[in-house]
Symmetry: D2
Subunit: 259 residues, 4 copies
């Protein structure tokens, strides 16, 4: 692979948002790097689809909760492929609603480790290079739980809410140096078979049918939002925006789906 | 003019955001309708520029604070040109910072009349048709003052803050019916000679030079944001987003410019 | 009446929050001034109850939507009774949920006139004296609708949201001069026969029974909150706080009652 | 000590907020339990002062970052003294502003461990008993950094912002069961020699003089706020409130002190 390639890395690349974002950036000329925790076959399928479309892509299995794992992959990418121009942090802390009693110390910590600490580690690993080059974009897939806590979301909301303010600190320090941090509040269900699909389980098709064509976010359309954000001119950057299906109520109006 | 034209109306069309938004939508095939309070010559210049580029456009002088004025123009547009598919409400309540003592009842009311009531009137006039057609977009240029009040902004912040929540009520009622309401928080200075330029006055060029190329929002780039919002697919709508130059601090970090 | 009395004025003094606040401050040594739009008999009953308890009180019928009405009463109070040390602005813009179609221009304006403009007028009338004396408190009864717009609240949310930011501008200007502005988000139902009681109508007792003893805000307890706020030392002022029954969900968790 | 005593526990009891809160609740009849990480002599001085005033108090050295330490102390208190009716979580994650480069993984984690995870552990340890008894109060001393991130606050803002949303999840689950969670945004400097005093260092007296009598929060006055919150009737609970000196600008107006 040519070392002058600009890379776009997705941390959390399943068949939903992550995979579609990788494909979108590959179609736009980036080398897409897809990272996910497990399912080598699924990973290679996504990489293969991008290559079949004429794009450039690689895949890594990566446990973001493990010390050094994120840092090693990012270093390898920057050495072997090229500078990471765009990273999409696409991991949440979604472990399903559970009461305080049912939320162990370990579960609470895991949410933080995946949703908050992981982004901090990515920023720490990539920001120096981005600042040196005077450009770079850190995209963060966020959720309703970053805006307010609700019953059963002890780990999830603490991790996502902390991450939202981390994005604000990163933005305050990095934006003047040319690095764009964007926090995208995905305030509705996404057609993502590998995450929401698994949570919903056997009734997934029924769920999709009930939502209807316009009632669930298409990851390809969300990928377009990420593409646009990563290419905003420096005079007109967005730090935070929400997206939801037109038929969903926003979180501040009492969303039905409390993800 | 062909009555099957889809119209895009700008309320508050000066040489800055409004004019550029009109030009962008005209370039994309809309008939652009530019409305402003005064300066017939300036208005015709903007209309002429759009036509010179091969676009379709009309201009109206319109005092949004006057009873019936908005409603009459919108009715005329829908009768003579075509359905208003997109409207950009681009009027603020900016009257310059002034103390409570220096804010008369009349000034306070004028801010509300322009920034809050005017949008309500536009929505009331256009929403029935948009709902009937199952589509339409109401774009609102907002400002820092919609997010928090600050000293000297008694009229401005009350009007803009009320408008922000009005946008939320409109969205709650209209989005499920296919009408997209988007509130864009312009949290930084815009290169707009007819508004900010006049406020800054004689030192305008000096002001621009100090800001630098990337330090002030280009209205053409903001117009692109509006275009993108108006064409988001229904499964992935944005209700609120911020924009600012990368070198500006966000409002929640204490922006220097308190517009 | 002794002209050295310190006065506490309630704008919007029914048998609920307003009446109880007046009684609480009268019990604490203030001369309570109760203002309401109508029902002279009800007004005199409240005044009489305070006097029966040994307190000092007066009553005024006052249409806050009318030019000069607020200003005249406040001037009369300051001339005949004494400086207004505390004012409670207790008027909302609650006209019941209604669609955009059913919200006339007049209704929309009335909401603003009562909830936003009225507070501005009170502040403009009282702030100069309070600043001169270096002390004074402006208490504002607010509601869920000041925090976010929801369907059917076009007038209400625009007026209350604008008022919230007006409170912030007033605070920014007046707090350093010794005048305390406090915005109290009453995010739950209040046991107020004259307002909520009338909205609920014939099933009021049934409504109260369903809520239970701890499930509805007692105006006497809310009055205690106001008393505490008005007597916070200058080193430790609260600008905003919420109150709700322990059994109610907060607005950001999807309140059942959308007042 | 009588085992029927009701206990009030302070996690983070220095000579500022924590010590004064302990003294206030002891004066009101609670057995105050003061916990802090180090300085046995300072701890015993605070305990001694409370006893000298006729109050009941105990002290524990406690490293909240250590596994099991919080849980052990709380179990001991409930066994030897009595049920913990009120707990004040008074630890922050304040490590001084530092750039992303200067914030190590370890520092970032420590902030979370002290400010977020520690509160979760306290809630997990105490909530079952409080829910059984149908009463209890969890008070949380919060800060500006819980409301928005700012440059240099990567660890602090992520930890405090996460904690704020954790408080909301705790409230959503526990309030209906009779447990009151209150998040107090201390948005200004506090006269606390053991924390802010040490950060300011040698110029502490100069700092105090510059602030003036009303320009810095007195911990005794803040302790009164905590007392009031812990005794609100169930029909009228506050989940969040801000406090600041009247002369300070709120965080949303660009606070001078970015703690």
């Amino acid at each position: 692979m040519a070392s002058d390639n600009k890379a776009m890395v997705v941390i959390g690349a399943g068949a939903g948002i992550g995979g579609h974002a990788a494909a979108r950036f590959a179609a736009g000329g980036y080398h897409a790097v897809l990272c996910r925790r497990s399912d080598e076959a699924g990973l290679q399928r996504l990489v293969g689809q991008i290559r079949d479309e004429g794009g450039s892509a690689s895949g890594y299995l990566l446990n973001a909760a493990e010390d050094g794992a994120i840092e090693d992959v990012l270093a390898e990418v920057e050495r072997d492929i090229g500078p990471v121009e765009v990273v999409l942090y696409n991991l949440g802390a979604q472990i399903g609603d559970r009461s305080l009693f049912d939320t162990t110390h370990k579960t609470f910590e895991l949410g933080w480790r995946l949703a908050t600490f992981g982004l901090f580690r990515v920023a720490k690993a990539l920001a120096p290079g981005m600042v040196d080059r005077g450009s770079g974009t850190i995209l963060v897939t966020s959720a309703t739980a970053a805006m307010r806590g609700n019953a059963g979301q002890h780990s999830h909301a603490a991790a996502m809410g902390g991450r939202r303010l981390l994005c604000q600190t990163l933005n305050a320090e990095l934006a003047p140096k040319g690095v764009h941090v964007a926090h995208v509040v995905v305030d509705g269900a996404v057609n993502s078979p590998d995450t929401l699909g698994k949570m919903v389980g056997g009734k997934w098709q029924e769920f999709l049918d009930a939502k209807g064509e316009d009632g669930i976010i298409h990851p390809a359309d969300l990928a377009e939002v990420y593409w646009t954000l990563a290419h905003q001119p420096k005079n007109c950057w967005t730090h935070e925006m929400d997206v939801r299906p037109h038929s969903d109520r926003p979180w501040f109006n009492g969303a039905g789906l409390t993800l």
